[in-house]
Symmetry: C2
Subunit: 227 residues, 2 copies
């Protein structure tokens, strides 16, 4: 069983993924058994540098985190935050262990489930980046992006509340309204393209099929650790 | 700010402590700001070796975990599980960075709050070990240990449910009954001497003052990281 490294950007996202990997592993390896796991994270405030230097800064932080994880013996790495995958290719050139791309893993599941019209939710950076368009470009599925106003709403819910573990009833209602609107427009599924979104969106909240990037990434990491 | 290492025994315990440190740090350092943090854990099944070799095995696992954390740059380490502190002294002789002892930190708070008669809850190993008696030996406070039957109940709730993140209503009721009995016997406070117990015991469940070893350890780590 390979040693999994988790490059943490937010503690909430890393903790959810870490716990998910350990509990889902029990189904594969038996009670109380999971791969060896290391997590490393700088202060989240470091990643919040959203100025013109942000891509360079993110690359630097991720390379340093992944090198630290390698020093613990980690043989593969995941980053349970979607946004930083914007620098995936540049970082991969500078590290020595494989990094599983979260959007590629989501695309594999979407293809397998044959979803056709998929709503993407995430931070403003995920909406603006090529992370999901790149991962889905070889698929027939259409990716639907929320309106500018909705993007601002989703982004601020994530950054102001969810990353600090705050789950409010008003936020849930806002998300429910948004999902319902897109369901009426023929969308069949939604990508929770932010590790913290499962805190607020589940099967009880929407009729759309859910592509939970956190669980998909966790499952992919377990599979990669087993091979 | 010093880099904190977390030697994980259970994913639940480590994740709770990790999230607590990050959210509590915001009060000290400002929004989204926390110390650099590394976590390392072997499979929990490795720690479940409860045979005659367990003390030797625990020492070995903790020394290896702490060395891996040191390799990431961690400057101090905590272990958010009470039980393994049984080998605290032996491990400290074999590592290069300071390890904050969870029971010593709980004792400091108990002394400051002037609690007099304190119920200890934890796994069977914590009940049987000298971890808390040693930490409290210089204090006037009396440590009360549950009956043999109650010890078995608390231990199995932790090992069979809480470490896997399962919180049942029947378990809550059982704990409420136990705490109420000791409150009637003059106990003034309870040590949650197991990182997972806060999942099930909070102020709403009992009139006893709560010494939450997880939060106390997290606060101590933040303080140590700041000095």
């Amino acid at each position: 069983m390979k040693h999994i490294g988790i490059a943490a950007v937010t503690a909430e996202g890393a903790a959810i993924t870490y716990k998910y990997i350990c509990s889902a592993s029990e189904q594969v390896f038996g009670k109380h058994t999971h791969p060896e796991i290391s997590i490393h994270g700088f202060s989240f405030s470091e990643h919040m540098n959203f100025g013109p230097e942000r891509l360079k800064k993110w690359q630097d932080l991720l390379v340093r985190s992944i090198n630290k994880l390698e020093a613990t013996g980690a043989q593969l790495v995941i980053c349970p935050s979607n946004t930083p995958h914007e620098v995936y290719e540049q970082v991969c050139k500078k590290i020595n262990i494989p990094w599983l791309n979260i959007a590629d893993e989501v695309a594999k599941v979407a293809e397998q489930k044959q979803y056709k019209k998929i709503l993407l939710l995430g931070t403003q950076f995920t909406f603006n980046s090529a992370v999901y368009p790149n991962a889905f470009e070889h698929l027939a599925a259409e990716i639907v992006i929320p309106t500018d106003e909705e993007q601002v709403l989703v982004h601020s819910l994530i950054v102001d509340e969810l990353v600090s573990g705050v789950v409010s009833e008003s936020a849930k209602q806002a998300m429910q309204g948004l999902l319902s609107k897109y369901a009426q427009q023929g969308v069949d599924s939604v990508i929770l393209g932010c590790t913290e979104l499962p805190l607020i969106i589940d099967e009880a909240l929407t009729q759309l099929a859910i592509l939970d990037s956190t669980k998909i990434l966790g499952d992919a990491a377990i599979k990669a650790a087993t091979n």
